[in-house]
Point group: C2
Chain length 224, copies 2
């Protein structure tokens, strides 16, 4: 899984942090594509399959924006992603949906979590990268159908609500665990977050914001 | 797998043929997405995985163009696709790649075959549908990387060439078989092709053109 190292991969400090940040996001998109495509296959209707497949395809749109952006700075996206493959894969293994509704909840919450994160960092990065982040954000919101489907299913089978609420909480817990691992392994990235948020408690604050928004999303799914 | 039937699904004659045509293309795109996404997972490099995933995502772009077009005429894409699910699925089962190189050859030849077909019908359909077909065609050509990878692999391992050449011929054979089944099952579609091509031998001529182009693509892969 190696390719020629791009010029920026061996950079230190802020440049290294930016490559890490884009690398972790790029593999986040690529692995989300893969999992959504797999989950789409288990859809109970062709319409649901098409909708989840559309979400998967949108991840590739974001992936390509990141790839192009990295390429302009002389960094190969494969090199930038490599350090984060195992962590993301481990997240997806630990949160493999066992039903269509679990897939929808994961897709919806994951989409929102990604958007939170992009929104948060948009102001911390250089203008060029900020523009990239805004382009990605403008293309989110493909998951409204999940809201409708999950709410409708819980109305028909109220016992699903508790089970899916538990699932939603577990997804957040796993995401936070994996995010903490990424930050613990990548010093430059931790420094970047502290500097970006202008706060020594930057990582904790970021997680807190994400938790608040996660709660709102759970409400919108009818799972709070 | 049922949804509310759109107004146009029960139409007869030319309208029925157009819904069938778009339905067969829509499920072709959706099932190609699914198979390419699955094949991408088996890529030997992150770069290859990203490239095949990008091809998969492009199929969803085409799918959505067809979906929107059908929606404007009051037809749900799920209803239009339904009659063709079993045939396409059977094509993919009978042509499941057993290696990364087989995946690349299938992706490349399938992409070209699709483009041939879209190009051929562009002039047979109403102006609105013709515009849709041109939009889809403008977005093909994501498979050039497959050409490079297959050629490079055959240079290193010349014994791959014969095996992949056989595979390429088998893919065309299976595609022709499935296309003939579709036409045999859908009278309106057969009439549409005869009328469109302005020739009673329309289907045979269409297949002949596809075969010629397939041969050219095999050459470009270094497999002729």
């Amino acid at each position: 899984m190696t390719t020629d190292a791009g010029a920026g991969v061996d950079a230190d400090g802020p440049a290294r942090a930016m490559v890490d940040l884009l690398g972790v996001l790029a593999y986040g998109e690529l692995s989300a594509f893969d999992r959504l495509a797999e989950d789409a296959r288990a859809a109970p209707t062709l319409a649901g399959r098409a909708q989840l497949s559309t979400m998967a395809a949108a991840e590739i749109g974001h992936f390509r924006l990141i790839e192009d952006h990295l390429a302009r700075t002389g960094v190969g996206v494969a090199d930038a992603m490599q350090p984060f493959v195992a962590l993301w894969d481990s997240y997806h293994v630990s949160t493999a949906p066992r039903s269509w509704l679990e897939s929808l909840v994961k897709a919806y919450l994951g989409d929102g979590l990604g958007a939170d994160f992009y929104r948060e960092i948009a102001g911390w990065v250089d203008p060029g990268t900020g523009e990239l982040v805004r382009q990605v954000l403008a293309d989110t919101g493909h998951s409204a159908f999940a809201e409708r489907e999950v709410r409708a299913a819980c109305e028909v089978q109220p016992q699903q609500r508790d089970r899916l609420a538990l699932w939603g909480r577990r997804l957040l817990g796993e995401a936070v665990t994996q995010a903490q691992r990424v930050v613990a392994e990548r010093d430059e990235l931790a420094e970047f977050i502290v500097r970006g948020s202008g706060d020594a408690g930057g990582v904790a604050n970021l997680i807190k914001k994400v938790q608040t928004n996660h709660g709102k999303r759970m409400s919108r799914l009818g799972l709070s």
